[in-house]
Amino acid sequence: MDKIIDKDMLDNIGVLFKRELQSYFNTPIAYVFIVIFLFLSGVFTFYLGNFFGRGQADLQPFFNFHPWLYLFLIPALSMRLWAEERKSGSIELLLTLPVTVAEAVLGKFLAAWVFTGIALLLTFPLWITVNYLGSPDNSVIFGGYIGSMLMAGAFLAIGSSISALTKNQVVAFIISVVVCLLFILSGLPLVLDFFTGWAPQFLISLISSFSFLTHFDSLTKGVIDLRDLIYFISLMGIWLFANIITIEMKKAD
């Protein structure tokens, strides 16, 4: 039995990661994604979020819209991860190279995550702006970025796993949006009201505890709670594990 993590594994993940990340910049995906992401961040923050009118030096309106921004942008990024490999047949090449499925899944996921991180980092002018205009609590903003990054990772893990199920990118996109939406909505009264009255209380709080919003909100308020970190990280772990199983079970069709 091989060791769970060894140098070969890290090397392989690194090579796959590099290729994958590069592929974003070989195609218009990177540029389109970054431009749209920055544009929508701006629109949400300044118009819908009423950044100036609030008269507060923080990035709360910016982060508040992230779950909704990611709802559509992240599945657009993740839909191609495996569906495209299936469609073009390159999955056969990839999985007959001396790499394990886990390495391939992680390499692809990390590339997508780092790419999202690059897009997120490019919103730094906002951070500078609030520091210029007032004196915000930078640790709260930092918490917001950490939370946003973790949430993006969870969205991506879901999207990647769903992308592994199909060779059709549009199908992968739609299903990912719906599943991500459920994860967002499960904290809202809209969904919880459906259960109250007949479901036991623990079930309701369980459902509500699955929500991205619950965990993300506390992070953006600057409270870096271990439970929120564990929530996002274990969510990524579970979905990526499902991703590995899916590929192992149905490599071919």
Partner: protein
């Protein structure tokens, strides 16, 4: 120690459909094994199982001593595989793609560059290195696929239709490349171009409906042809009835088939009894009778006839 690929009782079931049905064979170093069979016969499925892409329903495949299911990474390190259709990453350039393959295969630094460059020379890719693979012609795409498979100088090469879509010159190049590499490798290739089997394979296996139905050297397979060792004789004149009679009287002749009987052109195919050679007697006869012979040769038997006979 010489390399071998050994397949034992390999089966693959897709739902109720049996794609590969109990196939066993062993290939030794130095052999070029050709997989023949109609489309959908199970050639690609077998290759996908040997290379570890598909999990067999039953049976094993062992590559250079490593079981593809139990030690997949060790087995895969020894395999170079060109999948059907030569898939690659279309938005990468040929150079970037080969560089990526070299890295996955564990090459670094100068050694990596040397490998990539050597491979590029072997398959004549130098003109298109910096174009995205997407924009390459079918022939170049196939060569990128081939380059990817041979880059790490693997002990075992599995090539699914390596010359499909190539023009005659390119086919020739690929075949001579395979010929050059044959000595120190095990090469398994699939094709439905039968002339290719004669040109490059030292052994051929015919698969139909998932079953292995013939296994032998191209010559042995040709011997299964109905007209193997038959003599074709053409005359520019003579009396048909008497020619027929004298031919049938030759020792060892089983039957006679008239290909053409015109006034100034008689043509016959003469079939011998199993395993007998009749050309010497026929040519003596022709000389004695002073027939105006225009053509006389022994049929080797054609692979495509054997193929049709076995698979239709």
């Amino acid at each position: 120690m010489s390399t071998t690929v050994e397949i034992q009782q390999l089966c693959k079931q897709f739902g109720p459909f049996t794609a590969v049905d109990n196939i066993s064979f062993k290939v030794e170093q130095g052999e070029v094994l050709g997989f023949l069979g109609p489309n959908g016969a199970g050639k690609s499925t077998t290759m996908k199982m040997i290379t570890g892409f598909l999990t067999p329903t039953a049976g094993t495949a062992t590559v250079d001593g490593f079981d593809i299911m139990k030690q997949p990474l060790a087995a895969k390190r020894n395999i170079g595989y060109l999948p059907e259709g030569a898939p690659a990453y279309p938005d990468m350039t040929a150079w970037d793609f080969l560089d990526f393959i070299a890295e996955v295969r564990g090459f670094k630094g100068a050694e990596k560059t040397r490998r990539v460059q050597e491979t590029i020379e072997k398959v004549n890719l130098s003109g298109v290195l910096h174009q995205p693979i997407d924009t390459l012609s079918k022939g170049f795409k196939r060569r990128v696929g081939l380059a990817q498979a041979i880059l790490h100088d693997p002990k075992v090469l599995v090539l699914d239709e390596p010359t499909d879509g190539l023009d005659p010159n390119q086919k020739h190049e690929v075949r001579s490349l395979i010929g050059e590499m044959a000595k120190e490798k095990v090469i398994i290739l699939s094709t439905h171009i039968l002339e290719e089997v004669d040109a490059v394979c030292s052994r051929a296996i015919i698969i139909a409906n998932g079953k292995l139905i013939a296994d032998g050297s191209p010559n042995e397979l040709e011997a299964k042809a109905p007209n193997h060792q038959a003599v074709t004789l053409s005359l520019s004149g003579g009396e048909a009835a008497s020619v027929r009679k004298s031919l049938l009287a030759v020792k060892g002749v089983r039957k006679l088939e008239a290909l053409q009987e015109a006034e100034d052109h008689l043509s016959y195919q003469v079939y011998p009894n199993q395993g007998q050679s009749i050309i010497a007697d026929i040519s003596t006869l022709a000389r004695e009778q002073q027939w105006p012979v225009t053509e006389m040769h022994v049929e080797r038997g054609r692979l495509d006839e054997v193929f049709r006979q076995l698979t239709v």
